[in-house]
């Protein structure tokens, strides 16, 4: 019971923190929020084979029951992928910060490179 409670609240807290941070408008909190979300899903994937304690991952005649080994394999794949993705988005936000001079995630609808062409587009409205 306590184990289930710990896992459920842990996943819930991580997800809530991740969602909150993703909704902020600076790149750094968004990246941290994405990491929180991926931690939440990793923990969640562990529980999908049900929580079994002190059991071998292969069928063993001397033990009663086994634990499901597949979720571990899936979590490993998920960790590798999200780790790579996090690295990519960190580099990307750094590049964006260096090129635009701020770390705001909002996309200006009329960036300055379009402003000079304004009179040529009046007709296209």
């Amino acid at each position: 019971m306590s184990m289930e409670f710990l896992m459920a609240t842990g996943v819930g807290a991580l997800t809530a923190a991740g969602l909150y941070l993703i909704l902020l408008r600076r790149t750094f909190p968004v990246v941290v929020g994405l990491s929180f979300l991926s931690y939440a899903v990793n923990v969640f994937l562990f529980t999908m084979g049900r929580l079994t304690i002190d059991k071998p991952p292969i069928i063993d005649a001397t033990q009663q029951g086994t634990t499901d080994p597949l979720p571990q394999a899936l979590v490993l794949t998920a960790i590798v992928i999200t780790f790579g993705m996090t690295a990519l988005i960190v580099v990307l936000s750094l590049r964006a910060f260096l090129e635009t001079g701020n770390d705001d995630v909002t996309l200006d609808v009329t960036p300055e490179d379009e402003a000079p062409a304004r009179n040529s587009t009046e007709a296209s409205r």
């Binding site: 979300l37 990307l92 964006a96 635009t100 995630v105 000079p116 062409a117 040529s120 587009t121």
Partner: protein
Amino acid sequence: MTTPWIIAPVAIPAMTAAFLVLALRHHRTGQRFVSIAATIAQLAVAIGLYVAASDGELRTYLLGNWPAPFGIVLVLDRLAATMLLLTGLLAFGIVLAALGEWDKRGRHFHALFQFQLLGVNGAFLTGDLFNLFVFFEVLLIASYGLMLHGGGPRRLVAGFHYIGINLIGSTVFLFAAGLIYAATGTLNMADLAAKVPLVTPANQPLLAAGALLLLTVFATKSAMVPLHWWLPTAYGSTSPPVAAMFAIMTKVGAYSIIRVYTLIFGAEAGPLADIAAPWILPAGIITLVFGTIGVLAARRIVDLVCYALIASMGTVLMAIGLTGTTALAAAMYYALQSTIASAALFLLAGLLAPEKDSRIAFAWLPRYGTLFAGFYFLLAIATVGLPPLAGFIGKLLILDAGRAASAMAFVWSAILITGLLLTVGFVRTGMSIFWTPAPPSGELPQRAVPAGPVAVIAGMIIVIAALSLFAGAVMDDLTAMAEQLGAPQRYIAAVLRPHVTLNLTGE
């Protein structure tokens, strides 16, 4: 039946991409030759597999010869073969269109392009839900690189949005896969299809939550309203050949919806039968309406194309939501032609509004105005759905399929009214570009129009015309495809059968 050729659409781009990165990193000409050769090889394999699949037999390929529910299995049916052929055709056109102009902006365009094809082809072939996630990641990782190809601050900020939304999508995919595994104990699609009807009532809410979470992921990929906001930003900020290639990615979402919600949660899924259809149909209608509003409001030609793509996805999703053989066949027919038309429109938008000044520039217009206007006219007809091109036939087929549905009033009025509004939007933009061109502001670069994209757009229009001309034959094939999808027990039997004859020949 097992054929080793099924692995080829995955293996060819994987090896090519690795070879391009490792051996030809600094040889642009070599990269081009290898990339074009690999793309032609994939197209040839796709044609071969399409011909092979058209006998109605399901073919499988066991990776590492592990039997089906335990190992990963690739499955070739008519749907997968059709999508592979579409990918092959599109990739062949786009690799030619990217030559010269766009593949020079960075070192790894061709390698990323091949990785993208690896992910797309794999997603169409795989018969395993978690493997589908992995192929989604492969195609997304490649698409991040392609999306940022060429650089620039606007692209970087838009790229951050695109990567962020897709990372959230991947996380939700994992949650959904976890829920489905928790309820059924398997992630093999055929095994899932066999086990979903037998799930105990206690586990059914869990499974339903997983199924619908999965729908949100696929809805994000296929730009279903209200999960479509990322698309105009991302596609509108990237380079034209990449945006054209991305036209297939929304179809990967639509494909996944068709696959999962006909095979696993289809009509025979017991208490969870057709769990997604009540959501897909209204969402498709709203997507069509939103896309049309976007077309009317678009101020840049590339935005017009993005929202036209969203509108066409709405039409496809609506037809998928109608369920049934005729509706699915119509959805696929419309999806085929709209993918090609959107890709051609993205390329044309790139010619009409070259980089730097992302709004409409008129440097090439005086000399090439007639040609571009002709392209625009034909592609607008195809996208809007006016006769005689394939868009009209597709919409007609969807209207016909919707006749029996209880939601007929909504489906018909949505398609017919948005058809008119889309026409207005395209006509207005066309008039402002070609009939009342504003004088170019400042000096514009005097360059010859690149021959590649022009030839590719012409080729794509010919393909659309061929789709219209041979609509009967194509629809026969697609109806057979939809009938195959309507009989999931054959898919299950084809995938799970081999472990009866689990041959020890591998030793």
